[in-house]
């Protein structure tokens, strides 16, 4: 606890830790002023693994397999970013079939990861209820209470994972993407299997939409309005025509009115528009858009950002769902174009699962998928390279420099969750102001469902703290009250 060093330390601090149903070790603190009102809410991350350091001196070809071990939920994202950086270092542009296969792999991963976030981790909050027993408010509670939905979620995740296994050899930490392409092509059997599975996957996501969307008009209205609803910038990859893109693309940054702030960024130097700040109170760094400065340069990435940034998705059902999404969440100020509510991330995930399923079908019926080489020959590349992928949680950057022998001399990883760090902090602050009756009375008893709502604000972003600090854990919840000297006045942990 760093309260003693803070200018706000005249008041007390409430800590929520460790957070659960979130991937990573983190905590939330609420710092109070002398009058017992909220001075500042913060989201802290308490992990560190040091990939940027221990990868130095290793051959860049190892980076796919190594950085996949940053995160077991989205290893494919690291594999793709490392592969793309490797393409440039090697001077080997992947053949068309390899590019399509990489995209197919990413669509499968986004599908399984979104299913995990929506069904396994977040849906217990609203399907079992914020006030439900914390010991039951989880996947196993869902299995007992709503087996149909639990089965749909488990099935959808299994479909994505099994697709990854059939394509890349294993479900987790497959080393299939390599500089210059992929290790092997897709078999006719796998292609047929995927096409056979798609109808059931579609039915599962339809079930989730049918269950979730009506709740936004009723019991979840207040959460939608108060869980991180604020204007910001949004960053995502887009295709050359501006469409939603989970393959190779270029970066576009838009504001909350839908105006393009920066576009066409894809070169090595372009990452300089993003800066990172370190704060003593969190292991997770704070990226921002450099031209607007720290705080003002707050931007969001991930499903919500991708839907805000793209002009369209490009497949019929997904575009239909995107239109409904914008009708529902688009602000009046943006002409219904841009959603600013972070709670809408959950809805955006379902729209993206639809986009992934349709995108898979589009790729699979393309005749070139089964033909042609899947690896390119290296022709000599650059000594510094940027690899970008759209991870389930947002845009992921791997930036490498190598020496003449291809050994790494500099590694910088800019992770999706980290880029949402400023937004997650603002979200926690907004929830605390909206839901806690300030000033807090002297005998403090913060009800468990309220603590859970603070965590749920973070869950909207589906953070991956292993990734973001190149570290690991799932967030557990403790609330601590500190006096002005940093002494613990009261502490409450969920049973």
């Amino acid at each position: 606890m760093s309260g003693a060093e803070s200018p706000l330390a005249a008041g007390r601090t409430i800590t929520v830790a460790p957070l659960t149903r979130i991937e990573g070790h983190g905590r939330i603190t609420l710092q109070l002023d002398a009058s017992g009102r909220l001075a500042q809410a913060r989201f802290h991350v308490d992990e560190f693994r040091g990939f940027e350091s221990f990868c130095l001196g290793r051959p860049y070809g190892e980076m796919g397999a190594l950085t996949a071990r940053i995160c077991g939920i989205c290893p494919v994202s690291h594999l793709l970013a490392a592969g793309r950086a490797g393409d440039r270092l090697l001077g080997a542009a992947p053949p068309p079939a390899a590019q399509r296969l990489r995209t197919l792999l990413n669509l499968a991963q986004i599908c399984q990861s979104h299913a995990l976030s929506f069904f396994h981790l977040s849906s217990p909050d609203w399907l079992l209820g914020w006030e439900s027993d914390p010991a039951r408010r989880n996947l196993f509670g869902l299995i007992a209470a709503d087996p149909e939905l639990a089965r749909a979620g488990i099935g959808l995740r299994r479909f994505g994972q099994e697709l990854i296994e059939r394509l890349a050899g294993r479900r987790i930490h497959a080393g299939w993407v390599v500089p210059g392409g992929v290790r092997s092509g897709i078999t006719a059997t796998t292609r047929r299997w995927i096409l056979q599975q798609l109808p059931e996957a579609r039915a599962s996501v339809q079930l989730a939409l049918d269950r979730f969307v009506p709740l936004l008009d009723g019991p979840l209205q207040r959460e939608l309005a108060s869980f991180g609803s604020f204007p910001s910038l949004f960053l995502a990859l887009v295709a050359p025509d501006g469409r939603w893109c989970c393959g190779d693309g270029s970066l576009r940054l838009v504001d909350s009115l839908g105006r393009v702030v920066a576009d066409g960024l894809c070169e090595d130097d372009d990452i300089a528009v993003l800066a990172e700040r370190t704060e003593h109170w969190s292991a997770l760094k704070f990226p921002y858009y450099r031209p607007l400065g720290y705080h003002e340069g707050l931007y969001r990435v991930g499903p919500l950002a991708r839907l805000n940034v793209c002009t369209a998705i490009g497949t019929p059902w997904a575009d239909c769902e995107l239109a409904a999404f914008r009708d529902r969440h688009g602000t009046a100020a943006s002409g219904g174009r841009t959603a600013i509510a972070s709670f809408a991330y959950h809805h955006a995930r379902l729209v993206e699962i639809v986009a992934c399923l349709e995108g898979m079908e589009q790729l699979l019926v393309h005749p070139a998928l089964l033909r042609g080489p899947v690896r390119a020959v290296g022709r000599g590349g650059s000594r510094t390279a940027l690899g970008v992928s759209e991870a389930p949680r947002g845009t992921l950057f791997h930036h490498y420099s190598v020496d003449v022998n291809g050994l790494l001399t500099r590694v910088n990883l800019l992770i999706a969750t980290g880029q949402n760090n400023l937004a997650m902090n603002r979200t926690v602050d907004q929830i605390a102001r909206e839901w806690i009756p300030w000033p807090l009375p002297a005998a403090v008893e913060i009800a468990e469902p309220l603590l859970n709502r603070l965590e749920a604000g973070i869950r909207c972003f589906d953070p991956c703290l292993s990734c973001s600090t190149h570290a690991a854990g799932l967030m557990p919840l403790r609330v601590t009250l500190l006096d002005s000297g940093g002494q613990v006045l009261a502490e409450r942990t969920r049973p």
């Binding site: 760093s2 659960t20 149903r21 991937e23 070790h25 308490d46 992990e47 560190f48 693994r49 040091g50 940027e52 350091s53 221990f54 130095l56 190594l66 071990r69 995160c71 077991g72 939920i73 290893p75 995990l116 396994h120 010991a135 408010r137 989880n138 996947l139 196993f140 299995i143 007992a144 488990i154 099935g155 299994r158 994972q161 479900r171 987790i172 930490h173 800066a275 990172e276 700040r277 370190t278 704060e279 003593h280 109170w281 969190s282 292991a283 760094k285 720290y294 910088n412 991956c464 292993s466 190149h470 570290a471 690991a472 854990g473 799932l474 967030m475 557990p476 919840l477 403790r478 049973p495």
Partner: protein
């Protein structure tokens, strides 16, 4: 079956990538069977309980011991658990997490070198090293800090291996 008659299962996540827990979720529909065999009393992916509970029958531990929080939790879970199983290669051997031990010139300084690289060399603005977590000088496999009753190897282990282990461990 009443909750009282099932074995009490916990899963813990120290310093790792979550891949072993994802492999656990790769049990897919067998999770329905698991729900009948065991009561999940503590788990980062399947429980909101914040304190490691007493009288746990089986605990699967993912990840290596890299910081003080990891160490405290490892000691706590050992004291409250009958059978502790190292889940995956980081818990069993250190694996990729222990590559941090190679940072810098020598073993003594590896943690500092890694922090310095991440937060000072690769960050803008003031040079700040975060106050938490407090890193141990070396990343250690689980058996170096507590007694371990079994290992499920792999990076990550396959769901089939986890299932085979659980079917044995959870026999009443």
């Amino acid at each position: 079956m009443t909750p009282g008659s099932r074995l009490r299962l916990a899963t813990v996540w120290l310093s790792g990538c979550s891949g072993c827990h994802m492999a656990l979720l790769d049990l897919d529909e067998w999770l329905f069977v698991l729900a009948d065999l065991a009561e999940i009393v503590y788990s980062p992916v399947a429980s909101d309980c914040k304190i490691y509970p007493p009288r746990v029958d089986v605990c699967l531990v993912e990840g290596a011991v890299a910081n003080r929080d990891n160490l405290e939790l490892a000691l706590q879970l050992r004291a409250r658990t009958s059978r502790v199983i190292a889940l995956g290669d980081c818990a069993a051997l250190g694996n990729v997490t222990a590559l941090r031990n190679l940072c810098g010139a020598g073993v003594q300084h590896s943690a500092w070198e890694a922090l310095d690289c991440a937060y000072r060399q690769l960050s803008d603005g003031e040079e700040v090293i975060p106050a938490a977590p407090i890193l141990l000088p070396r990343v250690l496999p689980l058996h170096r800090v507590i007694a371990v009753d079994g290992v499920i190897p792999g990076c990550p282990p396959t769901a089939a291996a986890i299932r085979a282990a659980l079917e044995t461990l959870l026999q009443p």
